[in-house]
């Protein structure tokens, strides 16, 4: 953090070279961060290889197996641990007998796809709006500021539910979720970017660029963006696990990914009726969701501390916003 010393407010902009290596070195000394990274890597690999693994185990995520569930007991799988066997590694879904292992992996695809897509969209919009507000004149800043205020004040989950109900059935659900979460959740990023931009734009190197004739957007792109990368990436690391939870919550409420496409939230929603008879069906999707969110949170926390130990705790408390309860 040597770039801007003596500047009061901003999270210090990291110079491109050296910083990444420094962050990497700090991360390597934290076992929790390393374990989280390994877990996430494994999960991403498993999700990417889901069709391959489905073929390998010979299971189709949509195929029903009525013979594996006990219809006399309302559809509880035969056998222990939710009917785990050599064919069905993690057992089968109660009621339908669909293979749980493959469905969980396909659920991971949905979860990661939506969360990463939504986070990217939030960051992109937030960067654009924040830069425009920070560099624009009083009116632009005022207008964008009010829009941001409204967005922060709105209950996001509520609006997301309303929106998913409005859009026609045929529209691809994961894309819809990305758009809804992305367009409703950029306010935090834009506030951070605006504050950083205001703090940076009066610094000498930015002023020099403006004086030598660089336009507003060129200044933004060439001079400000490199300094914005650190705080924005840090914030994105908070957003990503939060977006996983939002997707799971919407699916849990029955307004997210539509069946038969598997999703963790939706499985947990079904599990509400099975928690007595088939505990494995609660524990497995809950475990996957919990571990994924936790790993992203721990890794994000570590990256934040590595980027700037001093600012870490403040960023966390001050910006933890959208809670799905």
């Amino acid at each position: 953090m040597t770039a801007v010393t003596g500047v009061p407010a901003p999270v210090a902009g990291t110079p491109a070279t050296g910083a990444a290596r420094q962050v990497g070195r700090r991360l390597r000394t934290r076992p929790a961060a390393l374990v989280s990274a390994a877990v996430l890597l494994l999960l991403i690999l498993l999700a990417a290889a889901a069709p391959l693994l489905a073929a390998l185990t010979g299971q189709d995520p949509y195929a029903y197996h009525d013979d594996l569930v006990d219809s006399a007991r309302g559809g509880v799988p035969y056998g222990a641990f939710g009917g785990a066997s050599a064919d069905h590694w993690l057992g089968v879904e109660p009621g339908t007998g669909r293979d749980l292992f493959v469905r969980l992996l396909y659920g991971a695809r949905v979860s990661l796809l939506v969360a990463v897509g939504a986070t990217a969209l939030q960051v992109l919009i937030g960067l654009f709006v924040g830069l425009a507000a920070g560099l624009g004149n009083r009116w632009v800043d005022g207008l964008l500021g009010r829009i941001t205020d409204v967005l922060v004040a709105l209950p996001m989950l509520v609006l997301a539910i309303a929106l998913t109900a409005v859009v026609p059935r045929g529209f691809p659900r994961p894309l819809l979720l990305i758009l809804v979460i992305g367009f409703l959740g950029w306010a935090g990023t834009s506030r951070i970017v605006r504050a950083q931009t205001l703090a940076l734009k009066n610094l000498d190197f930015v002023a020099a660029a403006r004086l030598s004739g660089a336009g507003r957007w060129r200044t933004a792109r060439r001079e400000l963006l490199p300094s914005l990368a650190a705080p924005v990436l840090t914030y994105a690391a908070i957003l990503l696990p939060a977006n996983i939870v939002v997707e799971a919550s919407l699916s849990f409420l029955g307004v997210g990914v539509t069946p038969p496409t598997p999703s963790w939230g939706q499985m947990l929603s079904t599990a509400q009726t099975w928690f007595r008879a088939d505990p494995a069906y609660v524990l497995l999707p809950a475990g996957f969701l919990f571990v994924t969110v936790l790993a992203f949170t721990v890794l994000g926390d570590a990256v934040r501390t590595a980027l700037d130990p001093r600012e870490a705790s403040r960023l966390r408390v001050g910006t933890a916003k959208e809670t799905a309860r």
Binding site: A153, V158, I161, L253, V255, L268, Q272, L294, S313, A320
Partner: protein, 329 residues
């Protein structure tokens, strides 16, 4: 102070106006026809047209919106075909499905939501602040590391996972409690409390993680201040320093954040209500969306917005009242 309050309230009103326009506009592009839904399956086109006229759907979108605003400020009258229904001042319209007044519906559902939120508040103030305080007291030791790990895990966990695990443990495994069914407080206070116990624990423990972190960091921040150093130099015990003096530093942020959280919970804790079948505002909203009941959705969303926005103002006031260094501007 008065000027500050007026400005904040005016800002809040603007936000709510924007929210109402947004939600109204959103449902206007709705593909489903509210009249068809309100009328039922066996309606012929003539009947649907009649319902459309009754619901005022023949008017332009903007006129309908103006009538809606007029209803909130001055009340309005509705024709149900045979008679004229008067809907008094904060009128949020009539449900397309049941013809019930939305204001009445919201008032009917609010107690369930309020009992959930207030009980959870007690839990997180006890557990959350207590945990944060404990980990500040034991800083550097194994207790703090464990507590930090637990709260970190807790901040990200979706509330329905916690709820499902508690259900499995308490209802299915230990069989201490039956599956909760909501009983109104006015009907049977004892049954109300027993049935709300799990929802309170779920929501309260879920929030506790955040409050533990908040309390811990505020206490540690205060411990670094000069006056604490002076106390310490005079020989005050570490325990007294943390629990008596440094804890004061955690009061303003905990109050402010609690106000904000309570505000958004009064708008309905959608997931918790849905998991435990509590007939609160959150469930009302989801039902409204499923049935495309425009007045219910708009009304509930607006009321949720009111709670959130007012809680924001309240949070700032509480923060300033608890911490003299904060200036309202």
């Amino acid at each position: 102070m008065t000027r500050y309050l007026l400005r904040r309230l005016a800002g809040a009103a603007l936000v709510l106006l924007a929210l109402s326009v947004l939600v109204y506009a959103l449902f206007y592009v709705l593909p489903g026809d509210p009249a068809r839904l309100a009328c039922g399956e066996r309606c012929n086109p003539a009947q649907i047209a009649q319902v459309r006229a009754q619901l005022g759907l023949e008017e332009g979108a903007f006129t309908q919106y103006l009538h809606f605003l007029q209803g909130i400020v001055a009340g309005r009258s509705y024709s149900t075909g045979t008679e004229l229904v008067r809907c008094d001042a904060p009128c949020l319209g009539l449900s397309y499905q049941t013809d019930q007044q939305v204001t009445a519906l919201i008032l009917e559902r609010l107690p369930a939501t309020a009992s959930l939120a207030l009980g959870a508040l007690v839990v997180w103030l006890l557990v959350g602040v207590g945990t944060g305080l404990l980990s500040a007291l034991r800083r550097g030791g194994p207790t703090e590391r464990i507590l930090t790990a637990v709260t970190l895990a807790g901040t990200g966990t979706p509330v329905f996972i916690l709820g499902l695990l508690l259900l499995m443990l308490v209802c299915a495994h230990l069989q201490w409690l039956p599956f909760p069914t909501y009983v109104p407080l006015g009907e049977d206070p004892e049954q109300w409390a027993w049935n709300m116990l799990l929802p309170w624990l779920t929501l309260g423990l879920f929030e506790s993680a955040k409050y533990a972190r908040l309390t811990r960091s505020s206490v540690l921040e205060t411990l670094a201040e000069d006056h604490i150093r002076t106390f310490r130099a005079y020989g005050a015990a570490e325990r007294t320093l943390v629990t008596r003096h440094a804890l004061r530093g955690a009061v303003p942020p905990v109050l402010a954040v609690s106000a904000v959280d309570l505000g958004s919970m009064f708008g309905g804790a959608l997931l918790t209500e849905s998991l435990f079948g509590i007939p609160g505002l959150g469930r009302t909203l989801i039902e409204g969306v499923r049935r495309i009941d425009l007045p219910v959705v708009v009304g509930v969303t607006l009321v949720m917005g009111v709670f959130v926005v007012l809680a924001g103002v309240l949070a700032d006031l509480l923060h300033a009242a608890a911490d003299r260094r904060v200036v309202l501007a």
